[in-house]
């Protein structure tokens, strides 16, 4: 364990800094949903059905050239509400904006814009076409990557697993089990087959990281805990919990049902890309420490457990207080 290096010191500082800045909401991403309901062939009335935490007036949607937006009225000349649409100021305090277009006759269409893909093409009654699917996949892959990279609680859990589980094949099985677990529950929650209230769910996610931190501390004292003996089972079990957490980002958008499978698949691919990048970075750092023989001093051997456990406990307490007081 000691040979895994000074990484723990940097990570401890990093995690504490991040935890202080995000006391109980390490994983909440702001979403906003704008509904545009057609009232005349060329007119739509807009309404924020899911408003962001800040003034929606700060969000600046840009509609196709032939359209003019006088909040809440959208007026479009020929050929109607079709063409490129974007949102300028999606940022770290707003992960995505979904636009529901509800025509007088016909099915509702939905379009998602995120910081990575702030532009979509509104296709009118022709939707969905290949362009719609492509834009959808592009948006949701990026949304998935952003979601995992900003979800420091998920990353800490994965870091804990990597720390505990030794051996390439054993680690591969463990990370795969976590992936299978969160993919299953992500799909189930997105399709509405299961549902867990957000506040207790976030508390359990924090608890899962505390659990891994305790397991690292126990391992250091020579006790092989559950994660050491059955890593895949722990990863699968907690993966199911984390997956429901991932689903929050998709469910809150209320995406059109026929677009949901592609959106879900793309989102999950994005999450896996982000997770794989993180796992590879951590493994590369472990290799680098071994190569440099840069090991932790004896007094610092407990640092990894605290680097993971302290912020997780901080979140757990914060989320429990939030759960019990609101």
């Amino acid at each position: 364990m000691r040979r895994l290096g000074w990484a723990a010191l940097a990570l401890l500082l990093l995690c504490l800094g991040a935890a202080i800045r995000h006391p109980a909401s390490a994983h909440e991403a702001a979403m906003a949903v704008l509904e545009l309901r057609q009232i005349k062939p060329t007119q739509y009335i807009g309404k924020w059905v899911l408003a962001p935490t800040f003034d929606p007036g700060q969000i600046h949607p840009k509609f196709p050239r032939q359209c003019s937006w006088m909040d809440p009225l959208l007026e479009c000349g020929e050929p109607g509400f079709v063409g490129p649409m974007s949102v300028d100021n999606i940022g770290s305090n707003l992960s995505a904006v979904m636009v529901h277009v509800i025509p007088v006759n016909g099915e509702m269409q939905s379009y998602t814009m995120s910081a990575a893909s702030p532009r979509v093409t509104v296709l009118g009654l022709a939707a969905p076409t290949w362009q719609t699917w492509f834009e959808l996949a592009d948006t949701y892959v990026n949304l998935g990557i952003d979601h995992i990279l900003l979800g420091i609680d998920h990353l800490l859990f994965v870091l804990g697993l990597i720390w505990i589980v030794r051996g390439g094949w054993r680690l591969t099985k463990t990370i795969t089990a976590f992936t299978v677990g969160h993919s299953l529950s992500l799909a189930a929650a997105t399709f509405g087959l299961i549902g867990v209230p957000e506040k207790p769910l976030n508390a359990v996610i924090a608890l899962s990281i505390v659990f891994v931190g305790v397991e690292i501390a126990r391992l250091r004292r020579g006790h092989a805990g559950l994660t050491v003996r059955y890593p895949w089972a722990v990863a699968l079990g907690f993966g199911l919990v984390h997956g429901v957490g991932f689903a929050g980002a998709l469910v809150s958008l209320g995406i059109q049902r026929k677009l949901l499978p592609v959106a879900l698949l793309s989102f999950n691919i994005g999450v896996e890309i982000g997770q794989l990048a993180f796992v590879l970075l951590v493994l590369a750092l472990f290799w680098a420490h071994r190569t440099l023989s840069a090991s932790l001093p004896r007094w610092g051997a407990a640092l990894p457990a605290y680097a993971i456990g302290v912020p997780a406990s901080f979140w757990l307490i914060g989320r429990m207080i939030k759960l019990l007081t609101t």
Partner: protein, 213 residues
């Protein structure tokens, strides 16, 4: 009389490398895109990797550490991020002004020459260089940060990025030169001479800019 054919492959490669690095330096707006997409933590982590001054000096420090005996070289793993942390904290507190631009070229020249000459440094010198460079780069990166940015997250991102870069580059250099023929050591030293050359150019630009003012 000079012609294209008279340019040696090494010089052509050096020119190409320098041009590429300058192109990389020409995209500071990328950091703001990262900041707006993923927040200040990732902006802090990626900001130094998109600036020539950081990129070349971080690389030089990692290469230099990798050329030392591991017992001495590994001090960059702790020294550099701690230096970055100190630089960020001191400049943010108003106790340390950002280093003048001469430091960028000067740092590259010093590190590049140490690397090119393959000088064996004592552990204290490796740690000292790492801390000094960390303080200078931490200070330079935090200077002029928008008030809207979160300094703690930005600094934490830069700290982690500095730690990862120093650790990975020095380990990769060590593995590269240790597990192969003698030419590998020469290749790393040649990289040092290129870094020193880039530093000389930046020094000249900085001095010229100073004279023009």
């Amino acid at each position: 009389m000079s012609s294209l054919s008279a340019i040696s492959p090494a010089r052509a490669a050096a020119g190409l490398g320098t041009a590429s690095l300058l192109l990389l330096a020409a995209s500071p707006a990328e950091a703001h895109i990262v900041s707006s997409r993923l927040g200040d933590f990732y902006a802090g982590a990626l900001h130094p990797l998109m600036a020539l001054e950081d990129l070349v000096q971080w690389l030089a420090l990692g290469l230099l550490a990798g050329m030392q005996d591991p017992k001495r070289g590994r001090w960059v793993v702790a020294g550099f991020p701690l230096g970055l942390l100190a630089g960020v904290a001191l400049t943010h507190a108003g106790l340390l002004p950002a280093p003048p631009r001469l430091f960028d070229g000067g740092g590259m020249v010093v590190l590049g020459l140490l690397l090119a000459l393959a000088i064996d440094l004592p552990a204290a010198a490796v740690a000292g260089l790492a801390v000094l460079l960390g303080v200078a780069r931490g200070s330079a990166n935090i200077d002029g940060l928008d008030a809207a940015n979160d300094v703690v997250l930005f600094g934490a991102g830069m700290l982690l990025s500095g730690y990862a870069a120093a650790t990975l580059i020095s380990a990769a250099t060590l593995a590269f030169r240790r597990n192969g023929a003698g030419w590998r050591r020469i290749a790393v030293r040649a990289a040092g001479s290129w870094i020193a050359a880039v530093g000389c150019m930046l020094l000249a630009f900085a001095l010229r800019a100073g004279v023009m003012q």
